[in-house]
Amino acid sequence: MKRNPARLLIVDDEFSMRDSLAAWFQEDGHDVVAAESAEQALRTLDDHRFDVALLDIKMPGIDGVELLERVRVIDPAIRVIMITAYATVETAVRCLKHGAFDYITKPVDPDELTRLVARALEDKQHSEGVTPAPPPSPEPERRVERERGVADAIIGESPAILHTLELIRQVAATDATVLIRGESGTGKELIARAVHRESPRRYFSLISVNCGALPESLLESELFGHEKGAFTGALYRRKGKLELADGGTIFLDEVATLTPKSQVDLLRVLETHELNRLGGHETIKVDFRVVCATNEDLEALVADKRFREDLYYRLNVFTIEAPPLRNRVSDIPLLAEHFLRRAAPTVGRNLTGFSPEALERLCAHTWPGNVRELANAVERAAIVAAGPRVELHDLPPLNGGGHPAAQGSLEDVERQHIQRVLDEHDGNITRSARALEVDRATLYNKIKKYELRR
Protein backbone atom coordinates (compact mmCIF):
# COMPACT_ATOMS: atom_id res chain seq x y z
CA MET A 1 0.00 0.00 0.00
CA LYS A 2 1.39 3.37 -1.06
CA ARG A 3 0.54 6.59 0.67
CA ASN A 4 2.25 9.26 -1.36
CA PRO A 5 2.38 8.76 -5.11
CA ALA A 6 4.06 11.64 -6.92
CA ARG A 7 4.17 12.81 -10.52
CA LEU A 8 7.61 12.44 -12.07
CA LEU A 9 8.94 13.64 -15.40
CA ILE A 10 11.99 11.87 -16.83
CA VAL A 11 13.84 13.33 -19.78
CA ASP A 12 16.72 11.42 -21.36
CA ASP A 13 17.56 10.80 -25.00
CA GLU A 14 19.02 7.38 -24.26
CA PHE A 15 16.28 4.75 -24.28
CA SER A 16 17.82 2.35 -21.75
CA MET A 17 18.45 5.14 -19.25
CA ARG A 18 14.97 6.59 -19.59
CA ASP A 19 13.32 3.23 -19.50
CA SER A 20 15.19 1.96 -16.43
CA LEU A 21 14.56 5.19 -14.51
CA ALA A 22 10.88 5.04 -15.29
CA ALA A 23 10.65 1.39 -14.24
CA TRP A 24 12.48 2.09 -11.00
CA PHE A 25 10.04 4.80 -9.92
CA GLN A 26 6.96 3.00 -11.15
CA GLU A 27 7.83 0.24 -8.70
CA ASP A 28 7.62 2.90 -6.00
CA GLY A 29 4.08 3.59 -7.12
CA HIS A 30 4.78 6.99 -8.69
CA ASP A 31 3.12 8.29 -11.86
CA VAL A 32 5.93 8.55 -14.37
CA VAL A 33 6.05 10.26 -17.75
CA ALA A 34 9.18 9.77 -19.85
CA ALA A 35 10.25 12.03 -22.71
CA GLU A 36 13.08 11.41 -25.16
CA SER A 37 13.88 15.06 -25.85
CA ALA A 38 13.53 18.51 -24.32
CA GLU A 39 11.10 19.39 -27.07
CA GLN A 40 8.85 16.48 -26.21
CA ALA A 41 9.11 17.34 -22.50
CA LEU A 42 8.03 20.92 -23.13
CA ARG A 43 5.00 19.73 -25.09
CA THR A 44 4.08 17.44 -22.19
CA LEU A 45 4.36 20.37 -19.79
CA ASP A 46 1.66 22.20 -21.76
CA ASP A 47 -1.03 20.14 -20.15
CA HIS A 48 0.65 18.19 -17.31
CA ARG A 49 2.02 19.20 -13.93
CA PHE A 50 4.84 17.36 -12.16
CA ASP A 51 6.33 17.30 -8.68
CA VAL A 52 9.84 16.30 -9.68
CA ALA A 53 11.70 16.27 -12.99
CA LEU A 54 14.86 14.29 -13.72
CA LEU A 55 16.73 15.81 -16.64
CA ASP A 56 19.70 14.41 -18.49
CA ILE A 57 22.21 17.20 -19.11
CA LYS A 58 23.65 16.00 -22.40
CA MET A 59 20.97 15.77 -25.08
CA PRO A 60 20.94 16.73 -28.75
CA GLY A 61 18.88 19.83 -29.58
CA ILE A 62 17.85 21.71 -26.45
CA ASP A 63 20.10 20.34 -23.71
CA GLY A 64 19.29 19.70 -20.07
CA VAL A 65 20.64 23.01 -18.82
CA GLU A 66 18.43 25.02 -21.10
CA LEU A 67 15.49 22.76 -20.40
CA LEU A 68 16.00 23.37 -16.68
CA GLU A 69 15.64 27.11 -17.21
CA ARG A 70 12.52 26.75 -19.30
CA VAL A 71 10.90 24.28 -16.92
CA ARG A 72 11.50 26.63 -14.00
CA VAL A 73 9.72 29.41 -15.86
CA ILE A 74 6.74 27.21 -16.70
CA ASP A 75 6.46 25.80 -13.17
CA PRO A 76 8.66 27.34 -10.46
CA ALA A 77 7.43 24.82 -7.90
CA ILE A 78 8.76 21.76 -9.69
CA ARG A 79 11.90 20.22 -8.16
CA VAL A 80 14.48 19.47 -10.83
CA ILE A 81 17.22 16.86 -10.47
CA MET A 82 19.96 16.86 -13.10
CA ILE A 83 21.50 13.64 -14.35
CA THR A 84 25.10 13.85 -15.37
CA ALA A 85 27.98 11.71 -16.48
CA TYR A 86 31.15 12.13 -14.47
CA ALA A 87 32.63 14.44 -17.11
CA THR A 88 29.98 17.09 -16.66
CA VAL A 89 29.84 17.50 -12.90
CA GLU A 90 30.93 21.11 -13.29
CA THR A 91 27.93 21.78 -15.46
CA ALA A 92 25.73 20.08 -12.90
CA VAL A 93 27.06 22.35 -10.20
CA ARG A 94 26.28 25.31 -12.43
CA CYS A 95 22.72 23.97 -12.70
CA LEU A 96 22.34 24.28 -8.94
CA LYS A 97 22.89 28.00 -9.30
CA HIS A 98 20.08 28.01 -11.83
CA GLY A 99 17.66 26.49 -9.38
CA ALA A 100 18.17 22.75 -9.79
CA PHE A 101 17.34 20.91 -6.58
CA ASP A 102 20.34 18.58 -6.85
CA TYR A 103 22.16 16.35 -9.32
CA ILE A 104 23.17 12.72 -9.62
CA THR A 105 26.16 11.22 -11.38
CA LYS A 106 25.20 8.08 -13.24
CA PRO A 107 25.40 5.28 -12.41
CA VAL A 108 24.08 6.13 -8.96
CA ASP A 109 23.52 3.94 -5.90
CA PRO A 110 19.87 2.83 -5.62
CA ASP A 111 19.59 4.21 -2.12
CA GLU A 112 20.95 7.59 -3.13
CA LEU A 113 18.51 7.95 -5.99
CA THR A 114 15.52 6.93 -3.93
CA ARG A 115 16.51 9.18 -1.06
CA LEU A 116 17.17 12.16 -3.30
CA VAL A 117 13.76 11.98 -4.94
CA ALA A 118 12.11 11.52 -1.54
CA ARG A 119 13.90 14.63 -0.30
CA ALA A 120 12.83 16.61 -3.35
CA LEU A 121 9.22 15.62 -2.79
CA GLU A 122 9.38 16.48 0.88
CA ASP A 123 10.90 19.83 0.06
CA LYS A 124 8.11 20.60 -2.37
CA GLN A 125 5.39 19.58 0.05
CA HIS A 126 6.94 21.67 2.81
CA SER A 127 7.10 24.78 0.70
CA GLU A 128 3.49 24.23 -0.32
CA GLY A 129 2.53 23.90 3.30
CA VAL A 130 1.12 20.48 2.57
CA THR A 131 1.57 18.14 5.46
CA PRO A 132 2.36 14.64 4.28
CA ALA A 133 -0.69 12.42 4.09
CA PRO A 134 -1.76 11.26 7.54
CA PRO A 135 -1.06 7.66 8.39
CA PRO A 136 -3.78 5.38 7.10
CA SER A 137 -6.68 4.49 9.32
CA PRO A 138 -5.83 2.21 12.22
CA GLU A 139 -7.75 -0.62 10.61
CA PRO A 140 -4.94 -2.40 8.72
CA GLU A 141 -2.66 -1.97 11.72
CA ARG A 142 -4.96 -3.91 13.98
CA ARG A 143 -4.80 -6.73 11.52
CA VAL A 144 -1.01 -6.71 11.77
CA GLU A 145 -1.30 -6.72 15.50
CA ARG A 146 -3.64 -9.65 15.53
CA GLU A 147 -1.24 -11.60 13.36
CA ARG A 148 1.76 -11.06 15.59
CA GLY A 149 -0.30 -10.67 18.73
CA VAL A 150 0.33 -14.22 19.84
CA ALA A 151 4.09 -13.90 19.90
CA ASP A 152 4.24 -10.40 21.29
CA ALA A 153 1.32 -10.24 23.70
CA ILE A 154 2.09 -9.00 27.17
CA ILE A 155 0.30 -11.43 29.43
CA GLY A 156 -0.92 -10.47 32.89
CA GLU A 157 -3.73 -8.94 34.91
CA SER A 158 -1.91 -8.02 38.12
CA PRO A 159 -2.02 -4.38 39.21
CA ALA A 160 1.71 -4.15 38.51
CA ILE A 161 1.46 -5.23 34.88
CA LEU A 162 -1.74 -3.24 34.26
CA HIS A 163 0.14 -0.17 35.42
CA THR A 164 2.94 -1.00 32.97
CA LEU A 165 0.44 -1.41 30.13
CA GLU A 166 -1.10 1.93 30.98
CA LEU A 167 2.33 3.60 30.83
CA ILE A 168 3.00 1.98 27.46
CA ARG A 169 -0.28 3.28 26.13
CA GLN A 170 0.38 6.80 27.41
CA VAL A 171 3.89 7.15 26.08
CA ALA A 172 3.37 5.31 22.78
CA ALA A 173 1.26 8.14 21.42
CA THR A 174 4.06 10.66 22.02
CA ASP A 175 7.50 10.77 20.45
CA ALA A 176 9.26 10.83 23.83
CA THR A 177 12.36 8.79 24.52
CA VAL A 178 11.54 5.78 26.67
CA LEU A 179 13.83 4.08 29.16
CA ILE A 180 12.73 0.59 30.19
CA ARG A 181 14.21 -0.73 33.40
CA GLY A 182 13.93 -4.02 35.13
CA GLU A 183 15.66 -7.24 36.02
CA SER A 184 16.71 -9.76 33.45
CA GLY A 185 13.83 -11.69 31.90
CA THR A 186 11.06 -9.32 32.99
CA GLY A 187 9.96 -8.56 29.44
CA LYS A 188 11.78 -5.33 28.63
CA GLU A 189 12.13 -6.20 24.98
CA LEU A 190 8.47 -7.10 24.80
CA ILE A 191 7.60 -3.70 26.24
CA ALA A 192 9.84 -1.97 23.70
CA ARG A 193 8.02 -3.70 20.87
CA ALA A 194 4.66 -2.77 22.33
CA VAL A 195 5.65 0.90 22.51
CA HIS A 196 6.58 0.83 18.83
CA ARG A 197 3.53 -1.14 17.79
CA GLU A 198 1.17 1.31 19.42
CA SER A 199 2.98 4.43 18.24
CA PRO A 200 2.32 6.49 15.10
CA ARG A 201 5.64 5.11 13.83
CA ARG A 202 4.32 1.56 13.62
CA TYR A 203 4.30 1.66 9.82
CA PHE A 204 8.06 1.93 9.83
CA SER A 205 10.66 -0.39 11.22
CA LEU A 206 11.56 -1.18 14.78
CA ILE A 207 15.30 -1.76 14.68
CA SER A 208 16.96 -3.41 17.68
CA VAL A 209 20.58 -3.04 18.67
CA ASN A 210 22.07 -5.02 21.50
CA CYS A 211 24.71 -2.62 22.72
CA GLY A 212 26.45 -5.28 24.80
CA ALA A 213 26.75 -7.98 22.18
CA LEU A 214 29.44 -6.47 19.96
CA PRO A 215 32.91 -5.03 20.45
CA GLU A 216 33.15 -1.25 20.04
CA SER A 217 34.37 -1.13 16.44
CA LEU A 218 31.70 -3.51 15.16
CA LEU A 219 29.00 -1.76 17.14
CA GLU A 220 29.92 1.59 15.58
CA SER A 221 29.67 0.15 12.09
CA GLU A 222 26.41 -1.52 13.09
CA LEU A 223 24.96 1.76 14.37
CA PHE A 224 26.34 4.22 11.85
CA GLY A 225 27.01 2.08 8.77
CA HIS A 226 30.07 2.48 6.62
CA GLU A 227 31.16 3.52 3.18
CA LYS A 228 32.78 1.18 0.72
CA GLY A 229 36.45 0.87 1.65
CA ALA A 230 36.00 2.39 5.13
CA PHE A 231 38.07 -0.52 6.42
CA THR A 232 39.66 -3.62 4.98
CA GLY A 233 37.00 -5.94 3.69
CA ALA A 234 34.30 -3.28 3.34
CA LEU A 235 33.54 -4.03 -0.31
CA TYR A 236 30.17 -2.34 -0.32
CA ARG A 237 28.67 0.51 1.56
CA ARG A 238 26.33 -0.40 4.30
CA LYS A 239 23.51 1.35 6.07
CA GLY A 240 23.69 1.53 9.85
CA LYS A 241 20.85 0.62 12.13
CA LEU A 242 20.19 4.23 13.07
CA GLU A 243 19.63 4.94 9.41
CA LEU A 244 17.48 1.86 8.92
CA ALA A 245 15.30 3.07 11.77
CA ASP A 246 14.47 6.24 9.82
CA GLY A 247 10.79 6.96 10.29
CA GLY A 248 10.57 4.23 12.90
CA THR A 249 11.99 3.34 16.30
CA ILE A 250 15.47 2.35 17.38
CA PHE A 251 15.62 -0.01 20.37
CA LEU A 252 18.91 0.23 22.24
CA ASP A 253 19.03 -2.86 24.42
CA GLU A 254 21.56 -3.13 27.28
CA VAL A 255 22.27 0.55 26.83
CA ALA A 256 24.41 0.70 29.99
CA THR A 257 27.12 -1.38 28.32
CA LEU A 258 28.02 1.28 25.74
CA THR A 259 31.71 2.19 25.76
CA PRO A 260 32.66 5.82 26.45
CA LYS A 261 33.36 6.48 22.77
CA SER A 262 30.07 5.00 21.63
CA GLN A 263 28.29 7.03 24.30
CA VAL A 264 29.74 10.23 22.84
CA ASP A 265 28.88 9.24 19.27
CA LEU A 266 25.37 8.21 20.17
CA LEU A 267 24.77 11.39 22.14
CA ARG A 268 25.73 13.44 19.11
CA VAL A 269 23.20 11.65 16.89
CA LEU A 270 20.47 11.96 19.49
CA GLU A 271 21.09 15.69 19.71
CA THR A 272 21.36 16.48 16.01
CA HIS A 273 19.49 13.61 14.37
CA GLU A 274 22.30 13.61 11.85
CA LEU A 275 25.04 11.08 11.30
CA ASN A 276 27.94 10.17 9.08
CA ARG A 277 28.66 6.65 7.98
CA LEU A 278 32.15 5.44 8.91
CA GLY A 279 34.53 6.68 6.23
CA GLY A 280 31.77 8.91 4.82
CA HIS A 281 31.52 12.66 4.39
CA GLU A 282 27.86 12.99 3.56
CA THR A 283 25.69 14.01 6.50
CA ILE A 284 22.57 11.91 6.69
CA LYS A 285 19.42 13.18 8.37
CA VAL A 286 17.56 10.59 10.35
CA ASP A 287 14.24 10.67 12.13
CA PHE A 288 13.72 7.98 14.73
CA ARG A 289 12.27 7.50 18.15
CA VAL A 290 14.52 6.08 20.86
CA VAL A 291 13.51 3.30 23.21
CA CYS A 292 16.23 1.82 25.39
CA ALA A 293 16.49 -0.78 28.10
CA THR A 294 18.82 -1.70 30.90
CA ASN A 295 18.91 -3.98 33.91
CA GLU A 296 21.71 -2.03 35.54
CA ASP A 297 21.76 0.77 38.05
CA LEU A 298 22.34 3.67 35.67
CA GLU A 299 22.49 6.23 38.47
CA ALA A 300 25.34 4.34 40.09
CA LEU A 301 27.14 4.15 36.76
CA VAL A 302 26.71 7.89 36.33
CA ALA A 303 28.06 8.53 39.83
CA ASP A 304 30.99 6.27 38.95
CA LYS A 305 31.55 8.26 35.76
CA ARG A 306 31.11 5.10 33.73
CA PHE A 307 27.98 6.42 32.05
CA ARG A 308 27.84 9.98 30.75
CA GLU A 309 25.52 12.19 32.70
CA ASP A 310 24.39 14.12 29.61
CA LEU A 311 23.47 10.91 27.83
CA TYR A 312 21.69 9.69 30.96
CA TYR A 313 19.47 12.77 30.99
CA ARG A 314 18.76 12.46 27.30
CA LEU A 315 17.62 8.84 27.68
CA ASN A 316 15.87 9.14 31.02
CA VAL A 317 12.84 11.08 29.84
CA PHE A 318 10.03 8.63 30.46
CA THR A 319 10.72 5.49 32.46
CA ILE A 320 8.79 2.26 32.42
CA GLU A 321 9.62 -0.26 35.11
CA ALA A 322 9.19 -3.89 34.13
CA PRO A 323 8.02 -5.46 37.41
CA PRO A 324 9.86 -8.56 38.63
CA LEU A 325 7.74 -11.69 38.53
CA ARG A 326 7.84 -12.11 42.33
CA ASN A 327 5.88 -8.84 42.59
CA ARG A 328 3.10 -10.15 40.41
CA VAL A 329 2.57 -13.69 41.65
CA SER A 330 -1.07 -13.54 40.59
CA ASP A 331 0.08 -13.54 36.95
CA ILE A 332 2.03 -16.79 37.28
CA PRO A 333 -0.90 -19.13 36.48
CA LEU A 334 -1.84 -17.06 33.41
CA LEU A 335 1.73 -16.93 32.18
CA ALA A 336 2.27 -20.64 32.83
CA GLU A 337 -0.84 -21.53 30.80
CA HIS A 338 0.32 -19.20 28.06
CA PHE A 339 3.74 -20.83 27.83
CA LEU A 340 2.19 -24.30 27.94
CA ARG A 341 0.04 -23.45 24.92
CA ARG A 342 3.06 -21.94 23.22
CA ALA A 343 5.02 -25.18 23.74
CA ALA A 344 2.31 -27.38 22.24
CA PRO A 345 3.63 -27.36 18.64
CA THR A 346 7.16 -28.15 19.85
CA VAL A 347 6.17 -31.06 22.04
CA GLY A 348 3.60 -32.22 19.54
CA ARG A 349 0.56 -32.40 21.79
CA ASN A 350 -1.80 -30.32 23.84
CA LEU A 351 -1.56 -30.56 27.61
CA THR A 352 -4.70 -29.52 29.41
CA GLY A 353 -3.08 -27.50 32.20
CA PHE A 354 -1.41 -27.90 35.56
CA SER A 355 -2.29 -29.94 38.61
CA PRO A 356 -3.09 -27.79 41.68
CA GLU A 357 0.17 -28.95 43.34
CA ALA A 358 2.23 -28.01 40.30
CA LEU A 359 0.61 -24.57 40.13
CA GLU A 360 1.21 -24.06 43.82
CA ARG A 361 4.89 -24.83 43.39
CA LEU A 362 5.15 -22.43 40.46
CA CYS A 363 3.55 -19.68 42.51
CA ALA A 364 5.82 -20.32 45.50
CA HIS A 365 9.06 -19.99 43.56
CA THR A 366 10.76 -16.57 43.56
CA TRP A 367 11.86 -16.65 39.91
CA PRO A 368 15.17 -14.78 39.97
CA GLY A 369 15.24 -15.23 36.19
CA ASN A 370 11.69 -13.82 36.02
CA VAL A 371 9.36 -14.58 33.11
CA ARG A 372 12.14 -16.09 31.00
CA GLU A 373 12.90 -18.60 33.73
CA LEU A 374 9.23 -19.44 34.07
CA ALA A 375 8.88 -19.91 30.32
CA ASN A 376 11.84 -22.28 30.27
CA ALA A 377 10.58 -24.25 33.27
CA VAL A 378 7.15 -24.70 31.69
CA GLU A 379 8.62 -25.70 28.37
CA ARG A 380 10.79 -28.33 30.00
CA ALA A 381 7.86 -29.65 32.02
CA ALA A 382 5.77 -29.89 28.84
CA ILE A 383 8.44 -32.06 27.24
CA VAL A 384 8.62 -34.58 30.10
CA ALA A 385 4.95 -34.58 31.11
CA ALA A 386 3.06 -37.78 30.32
CA GLY A 387 -0.18 -35.79 30.29
CA PRO A 388 -2.97 -35.07 30.17
CA ARG A 389 -1.81 -32.30 32.55
CA VAL A 390 1.48 -31.18 34.03
CA GLU A 391 2.08 -32.74 37.44
CA LEU A 392 4.30 -31.60 40.28
CA HIS A 393 6.94 -34.20 39.44
CA ASP A 394 7.15 -32.93 35.84
CA LEU A 395 8.53 -29.58 37.00
CA PRO A 396 12.27 -29.04 37.03
CA PRO A 397 13.75 -28.57 40.53
CA LEU A 398 12.75 -25.15 41.88
CA ASN A 399 13.88 -23.63 45.16
CA GLY A 400 10.42 -23.49 46.71
CA GLY A 401 10.97 -20.86 49.38
CA GLY A 402 13.50 -19.00 47.35
CA HIS A 403 16.18 -18.68 50.02
CA PRO A 404 19.53 -18.33 48.35
CA ALA A 405 21.49 -21.50 49.08
CA ALA A 406 24.74 -19.75 49.84
CA GLN A 407 25.74 -17.09 52.35
CA GLY A 408 26.27 -13.45 51.56
CA SER A 409 24.56 -10.80 49.46
CA LEU A 410 22.48 -11.60 46.40
CA GLU A 411 25.33 -10.32 44.26
CA ASP A 412 27.77 -12.69 45.95
CA VAL A 413 25.45 -15.57 45.27
CA GLU A 414 25.05 -14.53 41.66
CA ARG A 415 28.79 -14.14 41.18
CA GLN A 416 29.55 -17.56 42.66
CA HIS A 417 26.79 -19.23 40.73
CA ILE A 418 27.84 -17.79 37.37
CA GLN A 419 31.47 -18.67 38.04
CA ARG A 420 30.50 -22.25 38.82
CA VAL A 421 28.44 -22.58 35.65
CA LEU A 422 31.23 -21.06 33.57
CA ASP A 423 33.71 -23.51 35.05
CA GLU A 424 31.36 -26.39 34.36
CA HIS A 425 31.22 -25.39 30.69
CA ASP A 426 34.91 -24.63 30.26
CA GLY A 427 34.15 -20.95 29.86
CA ASN A 428 31.96 -21.55 26.81
CA ILE A 429 29.66 -18.52 26.73
CA THR A 430 26.91 -19.96 24.59
CA ARG A 431 26.52 -23.11 26.65
CA SER A 432 26.86 -21.29 29.97
CA ALA A 433 24.28 -18.72 28.91
CA ARG A 434 21.91 -21.50 28.01
CA ALA A 435 22.42 -23.19 31.37
CA LEU A 436 21.89 -19.89 33.18
CA GLU A 437 18.86 -19.10 31.04
CA VAL A 438 20.11 -15.66 30.12
CA ASP A 439 21.13 -14.38 26.72
CA ARG A 440 24.77 -14.19 25.79
CA ALA A 441 24.93 -10.44 26.05
CA THR A 442 23.65 -10.59 29.62
CA LEU A 443 26.28 -13.16 30.48
CA TYR A 444 29.05 -11.06 28.94
CA ASN A 445 27.89 -8.13 31.00
CA LYS A 446 27.89 -10.15 34.19
CA ILE A 447 31.38 -11.43 33.43
CA LYS A 448 32.55 -7.88 32.94
CA LYS A 449 30.73 -6.67 36.03
CA TYR A 450 32.05 -9.37 38.35
CA GLU A 451 35.39 -9.71 36.57
CA LEU A 452 34.90 -13.45 36.32
CA ARG A 453 37.33 -16.04 34.97
CA ARG A 454 36.58 -17.89 31.73
Binding site: K2, A23, P110, V144, F204, H226, Y236
Partner: protein, 178 residues
Protein backbone atom coordinates in the same frame (compact mmCIF):
# COMPACT_ATOMS: atom_id res chain seq x y z
CA UNK B 1 2.17 -22.00 -12.76
CA UNK B 2 5.47 -20.21 -12.25
CA UNK B 3 8.54 -21.16 -14.24
CA UNK B 4 11.85 -20.77 -12.42
CA UNK B 5 14.96 -20.55 -14.58
CA UNK B 6 18.25 -20.87 -12.66
CA UNK B 7 21.40 -19.76 -14.48
CA UNK B 8 24.98 -18.99 -13.50
CA UNK B 9 24.17 -19.59 -9.85
CA UNK B 10 27.41 -21.40 -9.04
CA UNK B 11 27.54 -22.48 -5.41
CA UNK B 12 24.14 -20.89 -4.79
CA UNK B 13 22.44 -23.62 -6.84
CA UNK B 14 21.46 -25.18 -3.51
CA UNK B 15 19.07 -22.29 -2.84
CA UNK B 16 16.78 -23.24 -5.73
CA UNK B 17 14.95 -26.07 -3.95
CA UNK B 18 13.99 -24.11 -0.83
CA UNK B 19 13.06 -21.05 -2.91
CA UNK B 20 10.74 -23.22 -5.03
CA UNK B 21 9.10 -24.54 -1.86
CA UNK B 22 8.67 -21.01 -0.52
CA UNK B 23 7.06 -19.78 -3.75
CA UNK B 24 4.70 -22.74 -3.94
CA UNK B 25 3.65 -22.19 -0.34
CA UNK B 26 3.13 -18.46 -0.75
CA UNK B 27 1.47 -18.28 -4.15
CA UNK B 28 -0.32 -21.63 -3.99
CA UNK B 29 0.90 -22.37 -7.50
CA UNK B 30 3.10 -25.07 -8.93
CA UNK B 31 6.68 -24.01 -9.68
CA UNK B 32 8.48 -25.72 -12.53
CA UNK B 33 12.28 -25.49 -12.77
CA UNK B 34 13.77 -25.32 -16.30
CA UNK B 35 17.23 -24.76 -17.68
CA UNK B 36 17.62 -21.56 -19.69
CA UNK B 37 17.21 -21.79 -23.44
CA UNK B 38 19.33 -18.67 -23.95
CA UNK B 39 22.93 -17.65 -23.59
CA UNK B 40 23.22 -15.49 -20.46
CA UNK B 41 26.41 -13.94 -21.84
CA UNK B 42 24.16 -11.90 -24.13
CA UNK B 43 23.29 -9.68 -21.16
CA UNK B 44 26.87 -8.96 -20.15
CA UNK B 45 27.97 -5.34 -20.29
CA UNK B 46 31.69 -5.62 -20.95
CA UNK B 47 32.48 -2.10 -19.82
CA UNK B 48 30.77 -2.47 -16.44
CA UNK B 49 31.57 -6.13 -15.96
CA UNK B 50 27.96 -6.59 -14.79
CA UNK B 51 24.82 -8.01 -16.34
CA UNK B 52 21.94 -5.86 -17.58
CA UNK B 53 18.84 -7.07 -15.74
CA UNK B 54 16.51 -5.59 -18.38
CA UNK B 55 18.19 -7.68 -21.06
CA UNK B 56 17.68 -10.73 -18.87
CA UNK B 57 13.97 -9.90 -18.62
CA UNK B 58 13.71 -9.85 -22.40
CA UNK B 59 15.64 -13.13 -22.75
CA UNK B 60 13.42 -14.76 -20.14
CA UNK B 61 10.23 -13.54 -21.83
CA UNK B 62 11.27 -14.99 -25.18
CA UNK B 63 12.54 -18.19 -23.64
CA UNK B 64 9.39 -18.78 -21.58
CA UNK B 65 6.87 -17.52 -24.14
CA UNK B 66 4.59 -20.43 -23.15
CA UNK B 67 4.74 -19.77 -19.38
CA UNK B 68 2.31 -17.44 -17.59
CA UNK B 69 5.09 -16.20 -15.26
CA UNK B 70 8.85 -16.65 -15.24
CA UNK B 71 11.48 -15.94 -12.60
CA UNK B 72 15.18 -16.01 -13.45
CA UNK B 73 17.53 -16.74 -10.58
CA UNK B 74 21.19 -16.00 -11.01
CA UNK B 75 24.45 -15.51 -9.13
CA UNK B 76 25.86 -12.73 -11.30
CA UNK B 77 25.89 -9.02 -10.49
CA UNK B 78 22.86 -7.22 -11.99
CA UNK B 79 22.45 -3.56 -12.91
CA UNK B 80 20.07 -1.23 -14.68
CA UNK B 81 21.72 1.55 -16.69
CA UNK B 82 21.03 4.37 -14.25
CA UNK B 83 22.04 2.43 -11.11
CA UNK B 84 25.23 0.87 -9.78
CA UNK B 85 23.40 -2.40 -9.08
CA UNK B 86 20.03 -3.97 -8.39
CA UNK B 87 19.09 -7.00 -6.29
CA UNK B 88 16.58 -7.95 -8.94
CA UNK B 89 14.06 -6.56 -11.36
CA UNK B 90 10.59 -7.28 -12.63
CA UNK B 91 8.12 -6.14 -15.23
CA UNK B 92 5.50 -4.28 -13.24
CA UNK B 93 2.28 -6.14 -13.97
CA UNK B 94 4.05 -8.31 -16.51
CA UNK B 95 5.31 -11.87 -16.84
CA UNK B 96 9.03 -11.79 -16.09
CA UNK B 97 11.26 -11.18 -13.08
CA UNK B 98 14.88 -11.84 -12.24
CA UNK B 99 16.76 -11.96 -8.93
CA UNK B 100 20.44 -12.24 -8.12
CA UNK B 101 22.17 -13.68 -5.07
CA UNK B 102 25.35 -11.75 -5.84
CA UNK B 103 24.71 -8.88 -3.42
CA UNK B 104 22.81 -10.97 -0.90
CA UNK B 105 25.95 -12.41 0.67
CA UNK B 106 26.99 -10.90 4.02
CA UNK B 107 30.76 -10.95 3.73
CA UNK B 108 31.28 -8.02 1.35
CA UNK B 109 29.37 -5.77 3.75
CA UNK B 110 31.45 -6.72 6.76
CA UNK B 111 28.41 -8.26 8.41
CA UNK B 112 28.52 -11.50 10.29
CA UNK B 113 25.29 -13.42 9.84
CA UNK B 114 24.17 -17.03 10.12
CA UNK B 115 24.37 -19.07 6.89
CA UNK B 116 20.59 -19.37 6.54
CA UNK B 117 20.38 -15.60 6.11
CA UNK B 118 21.38 -15.89 2.43
CA UNK B 119 18.46 -18.20 1.74
CA UNK B 120 16.03 -15.94 3.60
CA UNK B 121 17.19 -13.00 1.52
CA UNK B 122 16.87 -14.94 -1.73
CA UNK B 123 13.32 -15.99 -0.79
CA UNK B 124 12.34 -12.43 0.06
CA UNK B 125 13.76 -11.07 -3.18
CA UNK B 126 12.00 -13.75 -5.21
CA UNK B 127 8.67 -13.00 -3.50
CA UNK B 128 9.22 -9.27 -3.91
CA UNK B 129 9.98 -9.35 -7.64
CA UNK B 130 7.14 -11.76 -8.36
CA UNK B 131 4.91 -9.40 -6.36
CA UNK B 132 5.82 -6.70 -8.89
CA UNK B 133 4.77 -8.96 -11.76
CA UNK B 134 1.35 -9.09 -10.08
CA UNK B 135 1.28 -5.31 -10.36
CA UNK B 136 2.15 -4.57 -6.73
CA UNK B 137 4.18 -1.44 -6.05
CA UNK B 138 6.28 -0.86 -2.95
CA UNK B 139 4.46 -1.08 0.35
CA UNK B 140 5.01 1.29 3.26
CA UNK B 141 4.41 -1.32 5.92
CA UNK B 142 7.51 -2.57 7.73
CA UNK B 143 5.78 -5.90 7.98
CA UNK B 144 5.59 -6.65 4.27
CA UNK B 145 7.97 -8.15 1.74
CA UNK B 146 6.93 -5.49 -0.79
CA UNK B 147 8.68 -2.82 1.25
CA UNK B 148 11.45 -1.30 -0.86
CA UNK B 149 14.99 -2.47 -0.03
CA UNK B 150 18.10 -0.78 -1.28
CA UNK B 151 20.40 -2.36 1.26
CA UNK B 152 20.81 -5.93 2.35
CA UNK B 153 19.92 -4.82 5.89
CA UNK B 154 16.60 -3.53 4.56
CA UNK B 155 15.92 -7.02 3.27
CA UNK B 156 16.74 -8.51 6.66
CA UNK B 157 14.40 -6.08 8.37
CA UNK B 158 11.31 -7.22 6.46
CA UNK B 159 9.53 -10.58 6.69
CA UNK B 160 9.25 -13.20 3.92
CA UNK B 161 5.52 -12.60 3.51
CA UNK B 162 3.02 -10.18 2.08
CA UNK B 163 0.92 -7.92 4.27
CA UNK B 164 -2.82 -8.46 4.15
CA UNK B 165 -3.40 -5.88 1.42
CA UNK B 166 -0.53 -7.01 -0.78
CA UNK B 167 -1.46 -10.67 -0.29
CA UNK B 168 -4.82 -9.83 -1.82
CA UNK B 169 -2.94 -8.48 -4.84
CA UNK B 170 -1.11 -11.73 -5.50
CA UNK B 171 -3.98 -14.12 -4.79
CA UNK B 172 -4.85 -16.27 -7.81
CA UNK B 173 -8.04 -15.09 -9.57
CA UNK B 174 -11.09 -16.70 -8.09
CA UNK B 175 -9.41 -17.22 -4.73
CA UNK B 176 -11.83 -16.83 -1.86
CA UNK B 177 -12.01 -13.23 -0.73
CA UNK B 178 -13.91 -11.85 2.20
Amino acid sequence: MIRLVPFMLGAHEALVGPVVACLERTFGERVEVRDPGFDPAAALDERRGQYDSRRFLRLLLDDAHDAPRVLGMTGVDLFIPVLTFVFGEAQLGGRAAVVSTFRLRSEPYGIVSPPERLLERAMKEALHELGHTHGLVHCDLADCVMRSSTYVEDIDAKPARFCVDCARGVAPPGAASA
